[in-house]
Symmetry: C2
Subunit: 458 residues, 2 copies
């Protein structure tokens, strides 16, 4: 609970851009997943960095936590309040500030979503490729080190954030990075802050790398005789040095759900959905090589989507896969898992996971950005059935353990939030305490998104 | 000076793998550049991480600095002792530990050089592409966030280190990163440590990304009518989305020096030395596009080096350019500068720098990895002439200031070391103090490479 002086002070500063109404608090306690926490004490909607800096000083004075909020699409409860505090909703800081087309850079405010950004860029010949599926905010994507379907070619947020403006816990505003494509000038604070999940500071603007809109695009789907064959085809594709822009795996359950939900007529078999970007000759060569590889692994021909509307339809279906899977069982909720393993372990990881899910009795379609070893099982549960939920959570836990055993990570792209914090020690060992020491150095009062990512502090 | 107990303890631990002989100390106080400092108190040659951890505990007990040493090729005095201490020379930790060909990863000890690594990989079809010119150690390259000629396509050490084993100041050994291609699990400690110049810990092993040896390679040189034309051709190349594996600029003075030293017969004009890697069709397309662009900017035809031996000769000459420039004025030493600007500012940065050098009366050939905005002036000085040296240092300082004014960085790839520390505040502002806070969190006694990178601590 905010003290009266704290509340008065906040209201004086933000006026009607502050809310403590039950509806607003409830809206900012929602989550896309089953991860839940408590209500915040208030929500504010800043317009500029110096207001965020003032908020940080206020937070320090009154010892009130601050929690950043972008589009609310996190799957691990990153933006939920575990001990009250003020949610800083960046919806009003959503502008494109500058486009440097020659340098392929753009500076944006954190609240802009990736769709809005690409819409703003559409006449420039440039695009921001990172695509986690949800129409997330760029600030949130940076804070969680998001990636998605195109990371296999264009990288994750780690690779596409050139610099940041960040408000620290004590109200200092720092800038990281420069306009130069590389730098060897000291600690890479940009990289430290990308993925820090709001625990080190609040991002108030981002300079992002842009990429040329591809001259030519080829999208295809291919059905494989088995999960192993599809995954082995991906491994061979990556090992041959082909650079698909996306290479997505959908198991037969996912395909069935997508067919029903998005009115597709894909064969009921494990599928790869692949896209290549490039110039004409190089693209044709890549496509030919992939066709040969797919045939080698038993694909029954490739179905190329030549028309842009067919491509759009396929990718829309892929992006709707999560909703399609949820819709396949009315009333169900999902425990969404997220692991990432070395490519060489991908087939084993997927097969062991499928067997584990099958033995559990739950339904859990699998899909993923397999070109970088990342996949998800969407574990369907009856939200009123505690047995379902505990079975799903145990499965998710075993998936993460399996990933570690195979040399991978507990999360490829969804992040830690509240959902995965219990596994940080297993992944990082002594390095987890190092994260805690870094956190203490920048936020000794534990006011920036407390209860997340780092160990409980001494 | 080491106390007697400290020295006795060190000798007991390392025996004849410890030296305090004047020759050994002098060898480890040398620098490739004019940057100098004092002598260390001792040099040790560890064989494994637990010895390095013991050394860190010893260092804590006796309050003695530790300074990592790879191949000694740093240009900014990174590995020099400013207040005595023990140099940890990794020459005996130079093994390839594991190659995971399917995952395109290799695990190595820090002392291995990039040439030795690529020699070990030669039959695997894989390579480690980062190439700073010097035959540096991989530990040193990671510690300084090195890059070089191929960064324009393959990235810098930031992009090619997957994980690290690091001994911290207090002797803890941590591992960062996993075998998975990406992860969203917490702070990116790998990225924080890459480029930390030994101030946060000592790297005891590295997992590196490998790339396929290119199926086909095309190398060409092209002479341009002016510096501006050559640089504008680079800008257009990058903006078109072409991906050269290397694109190097040499001004006419550099060309003259290379001709004399490496017995080439390049026309005495600004040159681009460019290389493309790829599959046959895509490669031919890239090459054709680049040929058209070069013609547009007035290049007098491209001279393609079709034979591997011609390619090798050209790149050997490029790598020898520094020695060639030094040899062009017998007895001279060099102040080597290193700035990196946004591509859009590259022509202005190079032209202003040339004018500034011309006005100074010094000779200062310019060359650089211009595809990512990075270039160097090699300022030749008479080492016995204090006037020369101060003129060169003032020029170098103005280059760095100019880079900042143009949106760039004070160092693209050579790092901070002793040479650039005075400019950190100008580049980072309040963020420099944040680096200091992170340093204090991990090394409160200031024993890891003291006097480098971070501000003097309170």
């Amino acid at each position: 609970m905010l003290t009266d002086p704290a509340l008065t002070d906040l209201r004086a500063r933000f006026g009607d851009r502050m809310s403590a109404s039950p509806a607003s608090l409830a809206e900012h306690a929602q989550s896309e997943s089953l991860v839940t926490a408590g209500l915040p004490d208030a929500v504010v909607f800043p317009h500029q960095a110096d207001e965020v800096a003032a908020l940080a000083r206020w937070s320090t004075t009154h010892r009130v936590p601050l929690i950043g909020w972008g589009a609310g699409t996190s799957l691990e409860g990153h933006a939920l309040a575990v001990s009250g505090g003020v949610v800083v909703d960046f919806r009003d800081m959503a502008a494109v500030l500058e486009v440097w087309a020659e340098d392929r850079l753009v500076r944006v405010q954190p609240g802009i979503t990736r769709e809005a950004l690409n819409h703003a860029l559409r006449t420039t010949g440039l695009m921001f490729p990172v695509d986690p599926g949800a129409n997330a905010s760029l600030g949130g994507m940076a804070a969680t080190r998001a990636s998605g379907t195109t990371a296999v070619r264009y990288g994750t947020m780690r690779d596409n954030v050139r610099g940041l403006e960040v408000v620290l816990a004590d109200g200092r505003v720092i800038r990281t990075g420069t306009g130069a494509p590389k730098s060897a000038a000291g600690y890479d604070l940009t990289a430290l802050l990308v993925g820090s999940e709001g625990t080190l500071g609040l991002i108030t603007d981002l300079t992002l790398r842009l990429h040329g809109q591809p001259e030519a695009v080829m999208t295809a789907v291919a059905a494989f005789p088995s999960v192993r064959a599809a995954v082995d085809c991906v491994i061979a594709t990556m090992q041959m040095g082909l650079q698909p822009a996306r290479i997505e795996f959908l198991d037969e359950d996912t395909v069935a759900a997508c067919n029903a939900y998005s009115r597709l007529t894909l064969p009921p078999a494990p599928q790869l959905l692949v896209e290549f970007h490039g110039h004409s000759a190089g693209l044709a060569e890549d496509v030919a090589r992939f066709r040969d590889l797919a045939a080698e692994f038993g694909a029954d021909g490739l179905d190329w989507a030549d028309k842009p509307e067919d491509r759009t339809r396929l990718w829309a279906a892929r992006h709707a896969a999560y909703r399609a899977i949820l819709a396949s069982r009315p009333g169900a909720k999902a425990v969404v898992t997220d692991v990432c393993v070395p490519i060489s372990a991908l087939a084993a990881a997927v097969e062991e996971t499928r067997a584990d899910i099958a033995a559990s009795g739950l339904s859990g379609p699998i899909l993923g950005h397999v070109g970088d070893g990342n996949f998800h099982a969407i574990l369907l549960v009856d939200p009123t059935d505690a047995g379902d939920i505990s079975t799903a959570k145990a499965l998710a836990h075993r998936m993460a353990e399996r990933s570690l055993r195979l040399g991978g990570t507990i999360t490829g792209e969804h992040g830690i939030g509240l959902g995965k914090r219990g596994m940080m020690a297993a992944e990082h060992g002594a390095a987890w305490a190092v994260m805690g020491a870094l956190k203490r150095a920048l936020d000794p009062l534990k006011l920036m998104n407390p209860g997340k990512l780092v160990p409980d502090q001494p």
